[in-house]
């Protein structure tokens, strides 16, 4: 990619974000979420442009329910400090160092700006002496995603005496009696896989595909660790990230002058952009809403409103499309089920008709053994739009 090319994309992204607005850095969690919904161009573009989606959601009148509790935050920090104190002696032990008493090299990675820090990190990785441990505390790794650069900050990367790199993730959820919350471990694994991808971009194959997950043991503050094999997450995330449409291609489809600028007032914190205008800009980029967005994306309530207004079946669950074939809207599903539309030779239509007939029969039937009439199904139809917007 030529520098001018890069330059023009950067300019375009800055325009989308709004002049004078600092970009929000993409972190591994955001990338993992992006990879989980690679079909969503809206998120891909806004993330690449460093748009503060949370602030956009506020202006749209559909603020997300995210946020971190101070309690969790301070607990996380205290635990990480506990793991890294005394020159990371505890961490060395958990990594399996032969003699944790021998202190590891902990190079200073401080530098101005992300480019500087990423350069320091690359240098430290290259210069780590063979035959001893080097620990990079909060290194910064660069990863190109869909033609735009993201900076990622793992909790630590260890360089073992044999030269292999290990991603270390420090989490404050406990490993209780040898097991941990599968969902949280899964999220940590997806996040760690992004770091491994970023290390592979520095030098392919040097990073271990299993990462060290450090957590408090049971109900204590004592660190314990498990090796987590992230090969599967690596494969999935890697594939999904390459599937992302190139950011410049998405940007190219937008009307001239489209921007997510919130036009902050002179105080720097009061947005003055009109809700309608902003909503038009956001809706100009195609989305791919599914209920999972509610836990991963700040724009979820806005996108949900749109998805529901369009009557998309996906708003009822991501997995539904498979069994419904070409029926993409709630209306289409219901009219097919009730015999008003749809080709009976279509297996999805035929199955829905069977289901509707069975359901109606069951709701009309007396309850066995109870002698009480069944509950009645709700009646009445809401106002629903056509299926143009549902993929």
């Amino acid at each position: 990619m030529s520098t001018t090319h890069h330059h023009s994309l950067r300019k375009r992204l800055a325009d989308l974000r709004g002049p004078g607005t600092a970009p929000r850095p993409l972190d591994a969690r955001a990338l993992a979420a992006l990879a989980a919904n690679p079909g969503c161009r809206r998120r891909a573009l806004m993330d690449a442009a460093g748009v503060d989606k949370g602030a956009v959601a506020e202006v749209l009148g559909a603020p997300a329910r995210f946020g971190q509790s101070r309690f969790a935050f301070s607990r996380g920090h205290a635990f990480e400090a506990r793991v890294k104190r005394d020159g990371c002696a505890e961490l060395l032990r958990l990594l399996g160092a032969a003699d944790p008493g021998v202190p590891a090299e902990v190079p200073d990675l401080a530098a101005p700006g992300p480019e500087g820090r990423a350069a320091r990190t690359r240098l430290a990785l290259a210069e780590a002496p063979a035959g001893s441990w080097t620990l990079l505390d909060h290194p910064l790794l660069a990863l190109e995603v869909a033609g735009s650069l993201a900076y990622l900050e793992p909790d630590a990367v260890a360089v073992a005496p044999d030269g292999r790199w290990t991603v270390v993730e420090i989490k404050s959820f406990p490993i209780l009696d040898g097991g941990a919350d599968a969902q949280k471990v899964g999220a940590a694994a997806r996040q760690a896989a992004v770091y491994v991808l970023a290390l592979d971009a520095v030098e392919p194959g040097r990073a271990r595909p299993d990462v060290l997950l450090v957590c408090p043991r049971d109900f204590s503050n004592l660190p314990t660790a498990e090796w987590v094999d992230v090969r599967k997450q690596l494969a999935v995330t890697g594939r999904q990230l390459t599937r992302l449409t190139r950011i410049e291609d998405i940007a190219a489809t937008l009307p001239e002058g489209t921007t997510f600028d919130l036009r902050y007032a002179a105080d720097g914190s009061t947005p003055t952009r009109s809700r309608i205008e902003l909503s038009q800009a956001v809706d100009a980029v195609p989305a791919a809403y599914a209920p999972e967005c509610l836990s991963t994306c700040e724009l979820a309530f806005h996108c949900r409103d749109r998805s529901r207004a369009d009557g998309c079946v996906e708003s009822l669950g991501r997995g539904l499309r498979g069994e419904l074939g070409t029926l993409t809207t709630v209306d289409a599903v219901l009219s097919a089920a009730h015999g008003e539309a749809g080709d009976p030779a279509d297996p999805a239509v035929a199955a829905l008709r069977r289901a509707a007939a069975l359901r109606a029969e069951a709701l009309a039937a007396p309850v066995p053994g109870a002698g009480v009439p069944a509950q009645q199904a709700g009646e009445g139809a809401g106002e629903r739009a056509g299926d143009a917007a549902c993929r």
């Binding site: 101070r70 301070s74 709630v330 069975l358 709701l363 199904a377 709700g378 139809a381």
Partner: protein, 533 residues
């Protein structure tokens, strides 16, 4: 998600409110359940923030830990919870029924009823397990070497909560139930199953306030905030709203801490504590009311005919644990041994098969799901042909032809079971053939058949004579229901399962251990200066 459920959700969208997913109530509901709404401190695994608990919806007991990192205050919370839960357990322990001896078992007693615990959602149910785990190994004031002793009843609370938490893994059990699971079993909303995990939103769909559409009511519950920024319908826990933590709880706790360290003005400390109590209570109360609202809705449904059978198994489970406590067994191990784990798994598989069968038999809407899946069929008998088995004593083996709109997924020879009204057990049968209905000239109907003709051979339930018992063979024109799954996958009702048999009663068997040897006990969790225990 089944296609039937998808259809129901689509109907709910159109109707603007939830639609039935069941025609009867599939879970036992106690007359006076114990409702428990726990809250945890963000980021701290073993540090509860508070709870609302009790059997009286108008008078909940509010337990609050004004500083969750303080060990003594946490222990006070556990003691408070024990005081709310244990008397209830005790009240049910001595009211017993005698279960007559059977071929495999001596006469035994089973508690006539058992306490039921209802929590708001699955995360709260998981939290009950965590509370059980964190308290059952604690050392009490009776232990002279305990560095941080807890009040005597706390480990007992842990053992009961652990038992309830484990029992909840058995499909169809009802000792400990989550309201979101109960409601989603009985209603389908116009939102995704993920969104159904939010109790307030779920209730918004099922019973929206007058004048509101389900979607709007649900959205209000999810997002509406008071002028102070706090959610009107706080999360049902155990996690709190981060905004609540950051904006109001953290400052109130800081004031409490300051009052305590400043030294000694008791009134100031009390005022600061009351403040935290009020705040935590304000987050708990809406959920508490929601759980009771859910109970009201569920009570309006007639109970399924086989619910009492499953509740009896729950009573056995309760009785079994009572016996283990009385026999002086140590707390449940931190991890199950291989034998115990395998037994539990097998028991749960049987329970799953049982509850699936029972729910279908109790509820036409659930049966409809099985029929759609080809696991059952219903229709009209169009022909009966009498045949007999071969052998010295030929037995009746009538062949029925059933015309059904269903398409059973069955090879010839597959076992089938007929639900006979009023009979104790199902009538056994065997599929002979399944064929699409054709025109009288033998050509297929255009656009596919409207029905299938299933030939089944009845193989039992006709008495032991050469002539079938009166009424045991349906006549032409009769409506029949067949399932391809067993109606009572294992054993009759009223037998305790192996996992519930205390070792003093000969089980659960552990290989190589002489009878009567108590299993080795887990050590208490080690106490360190940094421990939160």
């Amino acid at each position: 998600m089944s296609l039937m459920n998808t259809l129901a959700r689509a109907e709910a969208v159109a109707a603007g409110r939830a639609v039935p997913a069941a025609t009867v109530r599939h879970r036992h509901l106690a007359e006076r359940p114990l409702v428990l709404v726990p809250l945890t401190t963000a980021g701290e695994a073993g540090a509860p923030l508070g709870a609302m608990v009790g059997t009286d919806r108008d008078a909940p007991v509010l337990l609050v830990v004004p500083q969750p990192l303080d060990r003594e205050l946490r222990f006070g919370f556990f003691a408070g919870l024990a005081a709310a839960v244990l008397p209830l357990m005790a009240a049910y322990e001595d009211d017993v029924e005698v279960e007559p001896a059977t071929r495999n078992r001596e006469e035994s007693e089973v508690c006539a009823d058992a306490p039921q615990i209802v929590v708001p959602n699955s995360a709260a149910l998981e939290y009950v397990r965590l509370l059980g785990r964190s308290t059952r190994f604690l050392r009490t004031v009776e232990d002279p070497d305990a560095p941080h002793p807890v009040p005597v009843p706390v480990p007992l609370l842990g053992r009961w909560l652990t038992h309830y938490g484990e029992r909840a893994r058995t499909p169809g059990s009802a000792l400990l139930v989550a309201m979101t699971e109960l409601l989603t079993r009985h209603w389908a909303t116009g939102q995704s199953s993920m969104e159904d995990q939010h109790l307030g939103a779920l209730l918004g769909w099922i019973d929206p306030p007058p004048g509101l559409d389900g979607a709007v009511a649900a959205e209000r519950a999810q997002t509406d905030r008071a002028p102070d920024g706090l959610l009107l319908s706080p999360p049902a826990g155990p996690a709190t709203d981060p905004l609540f933590d950051n904006r109001v709880l953290a400052p109130a706790m800081a004031r409490y801490d300051a009052a305590r360290t400043d030294g000694a003005d008791a009134a100031e400390v009390a005022a600061a504590e009351a403040d935290v109590r009020r705040l935590v209570g304000s987050q708990l109360r809406p959920t508490w009311d929601d759980v009771w609202h859910g109970l009201d809705l569920l009570r309006a449904l007639p109970e399924g005919a086989r619910v009492a059978d499953r509740w009896k198994r729950d009573r056995w489970s309760f009785t079994g644990h009572r016996d283990r406590l009385r026999a002086g067994e140590p707390p449940q191990p931190k991890r199950d041994g291989a034998v115990a784990a395998a037994q539990k798994l097998a028991g749960r598989e049987t329970a799953q098969a049982r509850v699936s069968a029972q729910e279908a038999l109790d509820d036409p809407l659930t049966m409809a799901v099985r029929r759609l899946a080809g696991e059952a069929f219903a229709g009209e008998v169009t022909g009966v042909e009498m045949t007999y088995s071969e052998g010295r004593r030929p037995m009746p083996r009538p062949l029925l032809t059933v015309r059904t709109p269903d398409l059973p997924q069955a090879e010839p020879g597959t076992k089938a079971y007929r639900a006979v009204p009023g009979a104790k057990s199902a009538q056994s049968a065997e599929i002979v053939s399944v064929a699409p209905e054709v025109r009288s000239d033998g050509t297929p109907y255009d656009g596919g058949p409207a029905a299938h003709l299933v030939v089944v051979r009845l193989t039992g339930g006709m008495g032991s004579g050469r002539v079938p018992k009166e009424g045991s063979v349906p006549e032409a024109g009769a409506r029949v229901d067949f399932t391809l799954f067993e109606h009572d996958p294992r054993g009759g009702p009223g037998l305790p399962e192996p996992e519930q048999t205390p070792w003093t009663h000969g089980g659960p068997p552990d290989a190589g251990v002489p009878p009567g040897t108590p299993p080795p006990a887990d050590a208490p969790d080690p106490v360190t200066a940094e421990d939160y225990l």
